[in-house]
Symmetry: D3
């Protein structure tokens, strides 16, 4: 039941990750942190999440595009928010349907609204 | 004029109701609390509200479905947010148009975003 | 499989019903006609439909509001289009979520677009 | 009542205007033709319309931007579709809210869908 | 300029492809037919299109998912409509953002409305 | 890069302006304050903004309608939120496309959600 709210936050920069997790928790979302694409995949295999918030560039290995695609294969209705400091140009070809791209730097309110709106607009059954 | 913002919160669990009213007030929404369907109907007859946020199960008597239908008969443009801890399956047949269903437990940010988005998207005249 | 497209058209005026069924068929939608609320309920119990297009006033007995609520109890994702020659005022309290109200007289293109848009925007799984 | 469907088509090129009026009529929309901005204003003062479909450049005098603004002053909920063969860049600053810009050349189906979608999404009361 | 309307239709079943191309042309969309994923890629390299309408299963080689991703790499704003006779389950992980999935069999009006709505809602500049 | 978040807040009442700027800053949006239409135009000429939040009545001289139109001429994708204590009736004819009208008094959460939603729904490239 708790999984209705739980977010998976995937970001390889620890300082950004901790600050963002703190803001999401204060908004009411239990947040699990993940520092790499491979770790994110493991988390998605272990547990169920309402949303995944992922950076695109995650160092060597899997990217945020890969993480989101895997998350949707596991849970087709999971909400997806991408973050990037680069051009968001690739979103049109690499993103999944009904996802949101938020460009860094972003306001905390933007991220909270993105996550909340996606969870609200998902069909409730 | 104040009625443009005033919310009617209908919830029979006092602890949940008080906590939620507090969060809605802090977000800037003057909130009137109601503990039963019958009381909610009386409030809707007495005053004008921008939105009604209602639990589905309200103990004996009227349900949240009944409260929302009555609210819309009085004010066809009133925003409606339902809350439920059960399956949200009945929303498709029992809910009113352009309403939102939020499943318990929910993040406070989800509720604030639901109310705010409905009030924004309502035609301004 | 065929049920993905099949429409149930509920209208007690035979001339309007036949003309509208003809237009919907030409747009590519296999259409079953029903002349009363009670008959519509029977059809919905017998078979599966992608959408129900229903007049509000159906003579004595069940109304279009009743038909749509029953349809959604059977199939929570069924598309719903209401038609009315009266004021559409009651839709806000009597309609079901994500339904469309089309006021008579309407252009055939309006009805075809209403049905098609609802079927497209329904989640594909 | 008929005005719920009636369109005002404003286009100074007679051949385009006649062909487009014909297509809109076949889709079920009674269409009044207007060949200039000044004539369109006169039509809008005389009668009520569900939608105005207007070219931007209308020769000397009033533009399509002017026509749409006047139409909305008269009827705040009138649907507005602009057509242009130029860059649509000015729409962001000169268009009215909830309007649609269709670039020439366009498919007839695009125009019919634009008009129909706007009329459907307008609140029914 | 013509490319604002031109569609690329990718379908390996010749009978379905010819019938669908005919319907799209009658709706006003100049349509280029392609019978395989590899041919579709070549067409997308040669010319500019407003939309790609593609079957998912295209025999051996590239799938419709591949075609759409390539199309978006070339033209980030190109409209994408997928068709499938299988479960549409994979769309959530394999589709591109703001695309539409239409399940076979579909009504011609559904496809025309899907293409037209996507072209209308694309930002006009 | 910072301009992706920066808001221009145009309000001639200093007390309201300061309180609102403070709330927007706390939500994470760097906010530049402007006390008149003429000053707002100067700010828009000097720098780039993600959004403009403007009162309609700005004393003598330019109105909020003028400010928003100028902002869109400079930056066609800039988000626009209007505020008014009067009837919002004029928005239909005087507002710009994809803008939001928020009526005073409003909850802070409404303004934050309006700004955040507009920035999220803007195409990311």
């Amino acid at each position: 039941m708790k999984s209705r709210l739980r977010l998976l936050l995937v970001e390889d920069e620890p300082l950004i990750r901790v600050a963002l997790a703190d803001a999401l928790e204060r908004a009411g979302y239990p947040t699990i942190e993940s520092g790499s694409g491979q770790d994110a995949i493991s988390q998605l295999e272990l547990a169920s999440f309402a949303a995944v918030v992922t950076d695109i560039r995650l160092g060597v290995g899997l990217s945020g595009w890969d993480v989101a695609r895997f998350a949707r294969q596991q849970h087709p209705r999971i909400a997806v928010v991408y973050m990037t400091g680069d051009s968001a140009f690739d979103w049109a070809s690499e993103g999944v349907p009904t996802s949101v791209m938020v460009q860094k730097p972003f306001a905390i309110a933007q991220m909270i609204t993105a996550v909340s709106s996606l969870l609200i607009s998902a069909a409730p059954f």
